[in-house]
Protein backbone atom coordinates (compact mmCIF):
# COMPACT_ATOMS: atom_id res chain seq x y z
CA UNK A 1 0.00 0.00 0.00
CA UNK A 2 1.68 3.22 -1.02
CA UNK A 3 0.77 6.80 -0.27
CA UNK A 4 0.85 9.51 -2.87
CA UNK A 5 1.41 13.19 -2.29
CA UNK A 6 -1.66 15.14 -3.40
CA UNK A 7 -0.40 18.66 -3.03
CA UNK A 8 2.61 20.74 -1.98
CA UNK A 9 2.02 24.29 -0.78
CA UNK A 10 4.48 26.97 0.32
CA UNK A 11 3.35 29.93 2.42
CA UNK A 12 5.53 32.97 2.96
CA UNK A 13 6.54 34.92 6.03
CA UNK A 14 3.58 37.25 5.96
CA UNK A 15 1.25 34.29 5.43
CA UNK A 16 1.03 35.10 1.73
CA UNK A 17 0.68 32.15 -0.66
CA UNK A 18 3.92 31.59 -2.55
CA UNK A 19 3.35 28.35 -4.36
CA UNK A 20 0.83 25.57 -4.65
CA UNK A 21 1.02 22.47 -6.83
CA UNK A 22 -1.75 19.96 -7.23
CA UNK A 23 -0.57 16.46 -8.11
CA UNK A 24 -3.86 14.66 -7.93
CA UNK A 25 -6.95 14.98 -10.03
CA UNK A 26 -9.41 13.94 -7.35
CA UNK A 27 -9.86 17.40 -5.87
CA UNK A 28 -9.95 20.84 -7.50
CA UNK A 29 -7.17 23.35 -6.83
CA UNK A 30 -9.50 25.52 -4.79
CA UNK A 31 -9.88 22.86 -2.16
CA UNK A 32 -6.11 22.72 -1.66
CA UNK A 33 -5.96 26.51 -1.42
CA UNK A 34 -8.52 26.29 1.34
CA UNK A 35 -6.63 23.53 3.14
CA UNK A 36 -3.34 25.44 2.92
CA UNK A 37 -5.03 28.53 4.32
CA UNK A 38 -6.46 26.70 7.31
CA UNK A 39 -3.03 25.12 7.91
CA UNK A 40 -1.59 28.56 8.63
CA UNK A 41 -3.57 28.80 11.87
CA UNK A 42 -2.58 25.33 12.98
CA UNK A 43 1.10 25.95 12.20
CA UNK A 44 1.14 29.21 14.13
CA UNK A 45 -0.51 27.59 17.08
CA UNK A 46 1.89 24.65 17.09
CA UNK A 47 4.96 26.71 16.40
CA UNK A 48 4.47 29.37 19.05
CA UNK A 49 2.99 27.27 21.81
CA UNK A 50 5.13 24.43 23.06
CA UNK A 51 8.65 25.38 22.13
CA UNK A 52 9.83 22.36 20.23
CA UNK A 53 13.20 22.97 18.67
CA UNK A 54 12.28 21.17 15.50
CA UNK A 55 11.29 22.63 12.18
CA UNK A 56 9.13 19.61 11.34
CA UNK A 57 5.67 19.94 12.88
CA UNK A 58 4.21 16.56 12.02
CA UNK A 59 0.59 15.84 11.25
CA UNK A 60 -1.34 19.10 11.56
CA UNK A 61 -4.82 17.74 11.07
CA UNK A 62 -6.81 15.39 8.93
CA UNK A 63 -10.02 16.06 7.08
CA UNK A 64 -12.14 13.70 5.02
CA UNK A 65 -9.64 11.55 3.17
CA UNK A 66 -6.67 13.93 3.35
CA UNK A 67 -3.88 14.26 5.93
CA UNK A 68 -2.00 17.53 6.21
CA UNK A 69 1.63 17.73 7.36
CA UNK A 70 3.42 20.95 8.20
CA UNK A 71 6.99 22.30 8.48
CA UNK A 72 8.13 25.78 9.40
CA UNK A 73 11.63 26.96 8.58
CA UNK A 74 13.71 29.31 10.73
CA UNK A 75 12.79 32.09 8.35
CA UNK A 76 9.08 31.60 9.08
CA UNK A 77 8.35 30.10 5.68
CA UNK A 78 5.76 27.35 5.97
CA UNK A 79 5.66 24.20 3.87
CA UNK A 80 2.48 22.14 3.74
CA UNK A 81 2.22 18.66 2.24
CA UNK A 82 -1.17 17.07 1.76
CA UNK A 83 -1.36 13.32 1.31
CA UNK A 84 -4.31 11.09 0.73
CA UNK A 85 -5.01 8.85 3.68
CA UNK A 86 -4.62 5.17 3.00
CA UNK A 87 -4.28 2.20 5.30
CA UNK A 88 -0.49 2.36 5.40
CA UNK A 89 1.35 4.06 8.25
CA UNK A 90 3.27 7.16 7.23
CA UNK A 91 6.66 7.35 8.93
CA UNK A 92 7.92 10.66 10.35
CA UNK A 93 11.34 10.06 8.85
CA UNK A 94 9.88 9.84 5.35
CA UNK A 95 7.90 13.05 5.74
CA UNK A 96 10.94 14.81 7.19
CA UNK A 97 13.04 13.86 4.21
CA UNK A 98 10.33 15.11 1.84
CA UNK A 99 10.23 18.44 3.66
CA UNK A 100 14.01 18.68 3.59
CA UNK A 101 14.02 18.19 -0.17
CA UNK A 102 11.35 20.87 -0.57
CA UNK A 103 13.36 23.20 1.69
CA UNK A 104 16.48 22.56 -0.35
CA UNK A 105 14.62 23.40 -3.58
CA UNK A 106 13.20 26.54 -1.98
CA UNK A 107 16.60 27.66 -0.66
CA UNK A 108 18.14 27.20 -4.10
CA UNK A 109 15.34 29.23 -5.65
CA UNK A 110 15.64 32.05 -3.11
CA UNK A 111 19.30 32.52 -4.04
CA UNK A 112 18.16 33.77 -7.43
CA UNK A 113 18.97 37.50 -7.31
CA UNK A 114 15.92 38.33 -9.43
CA UNK A 115 13.56 36.89 -6.85
CA UNK A 116 12.38 39.53 -4.38
CA UNK A 117 11.45 37.86 -1.11
CA UNK A 118 9.62 40.82 0.34
CA UNK A 119 7.29 41.66 -2.50
CA UNK A 120 3.83 40.46 -1.45
CA UNK A 121 2.69 39.21 -4.83
CA UNK A 122 5.75 37.19 -5.80
CA UNK A 123 5.22 33.55 -6.69
CA UNK A 124 7.88 30.90 -7.18
CA UNK A 125 8.06 30.14 -10.86
CA UNK A 126 11.59 29.31 -11.93
CA UNK A 127 11.76 26.24 -14.23
CA UNK A 128 14.35 24.37 -12.17
CA UNK A 129 12.32 24.90 -9.01
CA UNK A 130 9.18 23.62 -10.72
CA UNK A 131 11.09 20.61 -11.99
CA UNK A 132 12.45 19.71 -8.53
CA UNK A 133 9.01 20.06 -6.94
CA UNK A 134 7.59 17.87 -9.70
CA UNK A 135 10.26 15.26 -8.94
CA UNK A 136 9.51 15.35 -5.20
CA UNK A 137 5.78 15.13 -5.71
CA UNK A 138 5.81 12.20 -8.04
CA UNK A 139 8.09 9.91 -6.02
CA UNK A 140 6.10 7.66 -3.78
CA UNK A 141 7.15 8.23 -0.13
CA UNK A 142 6.39 4.85 1.32
CA UNK A 143 6.83 1.47 -0.21
CA UNK A 144 5.51 -1.10 2.19
Amino acid sequence: MSTVINCIAIIGKQNNPLFIKNFSNTHPDLKYHYIAHTSIDVIEERGNGVRSLDQYLGLLYAMEDLAVYGYQSNTKVKFVVIVSVTDGVIRDADMKSIFQQIHQAYASHVCNPFFNQDSPSMTLSSPSFLKSIEAIGTTIPISN
Binding site: D54, S73, N74, T75, Q100, Q104, A107, C111, Q117
Partner: protein
Amino acid sequence: MYSQPTTSSPLPQQTPQQVQQELVSESCMDFFLMEMVDTICRTTITEPDADIDAVFYKLETLGFSVGQRLIEKLTKDRPRFVDTLDVVKFICKDLWTIMFKKQIDNLKTNHRGVYVLQDNNFRWFMRLSTDVGGADSAKKATPFLWFPCGIIRGALANLGVTSVVVAETSNLPQCTFQIKIAA
Protein backbone atom coordinates in the same frame (compact mmCIF):
# COMPACT_ATOMS: atom_id res chain seq x y z
CA MET B 1 31.39 33.76 1.99
CA TYR B 2 34.89 32.97 0.76
CA SER B 3 34.40 29.25 0.77
CA GLN B 4 30.66 29.19 0.28
CA PRO B 5 29.94 26.21 -1.90
CA THR B 6 27.46 26.64 -4.69
CA THR B 7 25.13 23.74 -4.11
CA SER B 8 23.71 22.14 -7.17
CA SER B 9 21.36 19.18 -7.23
CA PRO B 10 23.03 16.05 -8.60
CA LEU B 11 22.46 15.24 -12.26
CA PRO B 12 20.51 12.02 -12.71
CA GLN B 13 23.47 10.01 -13.95
CA GLN B 14 25.86 11.16 -11.20
CA THR B 15 25.90 9.82 -7.68
CA PRO B 16 25.97 12.44 -4.90
CA GLN B 17 29.58 11.51 -4.12
CA GLN B 18 30.66 12.60 -7.58
CA VAL B 19 29.22 16.11 -7.31
CA GLN B 20 32.11 18.50 -6.71
CA GLN B 21 31.82 21.33 -4.26
CA GLU B 22 32.38 24.53 -6.18
CA LEU B 23 34.30 27.12 -4.21
CA VAL B 24 35.14 30.74 -4.92
CA SER B 25 38.74 31.96 -4.91
CA GLU B 26 39.37 34.26 -1.96
CA SER B 27 41.41 36.80 -3.88
CA CYS B 28 38.70 37.04 -6.54
CA MET B 29 36.22 37.78 -3.78
CA ASP B 30 38.54 40.45 -2.32
CA PHE B 31 38.98 42.17 -5.70
CA PHE B 32 35.26 42.00 -6.40
CA LEU B 33 34.32 43.61 -3.08
CA MET B 34 36.92 46.37 -3.44
CA GLU B 35 35.71 47.18 -6.91
CA MET B 36 32.06 47.06 -5.84
CA VAL B 37 32.55 49.70 -3.16
CA ASP B 38 34.67 51.82 -5.47
CA THR B 39 32.23 51.64 -8.40
CA ILE B 40 29.21 52.50 -6.29
CA CYS B 41 31.01 55.45 -4.70
CA ARG B 42 32.16 56.68 -8.10
CA THR B 43 28.88 56.32 -9.97
CA THR B 44 26.65 57.61 -7.21
CA ILE B 45 28.48 60.91 -6.93
CA THR B 46 27.58 61.72 -10.54
CA GLU B 47 23.83 61.31 -9.94
CA PRO B 48 21.80 64.46 -9.18
CA ASP B 49 21.04 65.04 -5.48
CA ALA B 50 23.34 62.24 -4.47
CA ASP B 51 25.43 62.36 -1.36
CA ILE B 52 27.19 59.96 0.91
CA ASP B 53 23.84 58.69 2.22
CA ALA B 54 22.94 57.46 -1.24
CA VAL B 55 26.13 55.37 -1.31
CA PHE B 56 25.26 54.01 2.11
CA TYR B 57 21.74 53.16 0.96
CA LYS B 58 22.93 51.31 -2.15
CA LEU B 59 25.61 49.26 -0.42
CA GLU B 60 23.39 48.50 2.53
CA THR B 61 20.50 47.38 0.34
CA LEU B 62 22.84 45.08 -1.59
CA GLY B 63 24.01 43.61 1.69
CA PHE B 64 20.41 43.23 2.86
CA SER B 65 19.41 40.91 0.05
CA VAL B 66 22.68 38.94 0.33
CA GLY B 67 22.09 38.53 4.07
CA GLN B 68 18.55 37.25 3.53
CA ARG B 69 19.66 34.63 1.05
CA LEU B 70 22.67 33.52 3.09
CA ILE B 71 20.45 32.94 6.11
CA GLU B 72 17.95 30.91 4.10
CA LYS B 73 20.74 28.54 3.12
CA LEU B 74 22.56 28.51 6.46
CA THR B 75 19.64 27.91 8.82
CA LYS B 76 18.15 25.11 6.76
CA ASP B 77 19.34 22.30 9.00
CA ARG B 78 19.51 24.14 12.26
CA PRO B 79 16.99 23.79 15.10
CA ARG B 80 14.71 26.68 15.89
CA PHE B 81 16.01 29.82 17.61
CA VAL B 82 14.95 30.39 21.21
CA ASP B 83 15.02 34.19 21.40
CA THR B 84 16.61 37.31 19.96
CA LEU B 85 19.85 36.84 21.87
CA ASP B 86 20.14 33.39 20.30
CA VAL B 87 19.72 34.96 16.87
CA VAL B 88 22.42 37.58 17.55
CA LYS B 89 24.77 34.91 18.88
CA PHE B 90 24.22 32.88 15.73
CA ILE B 91 25.23 35.94 13.68
CA CYS B 92 28.33 36.51 15.83
CA LYS B 93 29.47 32.92 15.66
CA ASP B 94 28.21 30.98 12.66
CA LEU B 95 27.59 33.76 10.15
CA TRP B 96 30.86 35.49 10.97
CA THR B 97 32.77 32.21 10.76
CA ILE B 98 31.36 31.49 7.33
CA MET B 99 32.00 34.98 6.02
CA PHE B 100 35.25 35.88 7.72
CA LYS B 101 36.63 32.60 9.10
CA LYS B 102 36.57 33.92 12.64
CA GLN B 103 34.03 34.85 15.29
CA ILE B 104 33.14 38.25 16.64
CA ASP B 105 35.64 39.15 19.37
CA ASN B 106 33.34 40.97 21.72
CA LEU B 107 29.56 41.13 22.07
CA LYS B 108 27.99 43.64 24.44
CA THR B 109 24.31 44.27 25.08
CA ASN B 110 22.24 46.51 27.30
CA HIS B 111 19.45 43.91 27.33
CA ARG B 112 17.11 46.55 26.00
CA GLY B 113 17.56 45.87 22.33
CA VAL B 114 21.01 47.32 21.63
CA TYR B 115 23.89 45.00 20.74
CA VAL B 116 27.46 46.05 20.05
CA LEU B 117 29.62 43.66 18.05
CA GLN B 118 33.33 44.30 18.04
CA ASP B 119 35.74 42.73 15.60
CA ASN B 120 39.39 43.42 16.44
CA ASN B 121 40.79 42.16 13.18
CA PHE B 122 38.22 42.72 10.47
CA ARG B 123 39.19 40.56 7.53
CA TRP B 124 38.28 43.03 4.83
CA PHE B 125 40.47 45.67 6.48
CA MET B 126 43.55 43.50 6.72
CA ARG B 127 45.07 44.80 3.52
CA LEU B 128 43.80 48.39 3.62
CA SER B 129 46.04 51.32 4.45
CA THR B 130 46.63 54.93 3.41
CA ASP B 131 49.72 57.13 3.40
CA VAL B 132 48.53 59.24 6.26
CA GLY B 133 47.23 56.46 8.43
CA GLY B 134 45.18 56.71 11.62
CA ALA B 135 41.94 58.66 11.44
CA ASP B 136 42.26 59.31 7.72
CA SER B 137 42.36 55.63 6.80
CA ALA B 138 39.49 54.96 9.20
CA LYS B 139 37.38 57.55 7.41
CA LYS B 140 38.21 56.19 3.96
CA ALA B 141 37.52 52.62 5.04
CA THR B 142 34.02 53.36 6.32
CA PRO B 143 32.20 52.64 3.03
CA PHE B 144 33.60 49.11 3.17
CA LEU B 145 31.62 48.56 6.35
CA TRP B 146 28.23 49.38 4.85
CA PHE B 147 27.89 46.15 2.89
CA PRO B 148 28.43 44.02 6.05
CA CYS B 149 25.91 46.25 7.85
CA GLY B 150 23.37 45.31 5.22
CA ILE B 151 24.25 41.64 5.51
CA ILE B 152 23.63 41.72 9.27
CA ARG B 153 20.35 43.59 8.82
CA GLY B 154 19.19 41.17 6.12
CA ALA B 155 20.13 38.17 8.22
CA LEU B 156 18.19 39.51 11.20
CA ALA B 157 15.21 40.47 9.06
CA ASN B 158 14.87 37.01 7.58
CA LEU B 159 14.92 35.53 11.08
CA GLY B 160 12.08 37.81 12.11
CA VAL B 161 14.02 40.59 13.86
CA THR B 162 13.62 44.15 12.56
CA SER B 163 16.67 46.23 13.26
CA VAL B 164 18.91 49.13 12.33
CA VAL B 165 22.62 48.41 11.95
CA VAL B 166 25.39 51.00 11.91
CA ALA B 167 29.12 50.53 11.88
CA GLU B 168 32.15 52.58 12.72
CA THR B 169 35.87 52.18 12.87
CA SER B 170 38.38 54.29 14.75
CA ASN B 171 41.56 52.52 13.79
CA LEU B 172 42.05 49.82 11.22
CA PRO B 173 41.70 46.81 11.42
CA GLN B 174 39.29 47.08 14.29
CA CYS B 175 35.60 47.85 13.73
CA THR B 176 32.36 47.95 15.65
CA PHE B 177 28.82 47.15 14.54
CA GLN B 178 25.89 48.45 16.53
CA ILE B 179 22.53 46.70 16.21
CA LYS B 180 19.40 48.45 17.44
CA ILE B 181 16.42 46.15 17.57
CA ALA B 182 13.00 47.68 17.06
CA ALA B 183 10.90 47.08 20.16
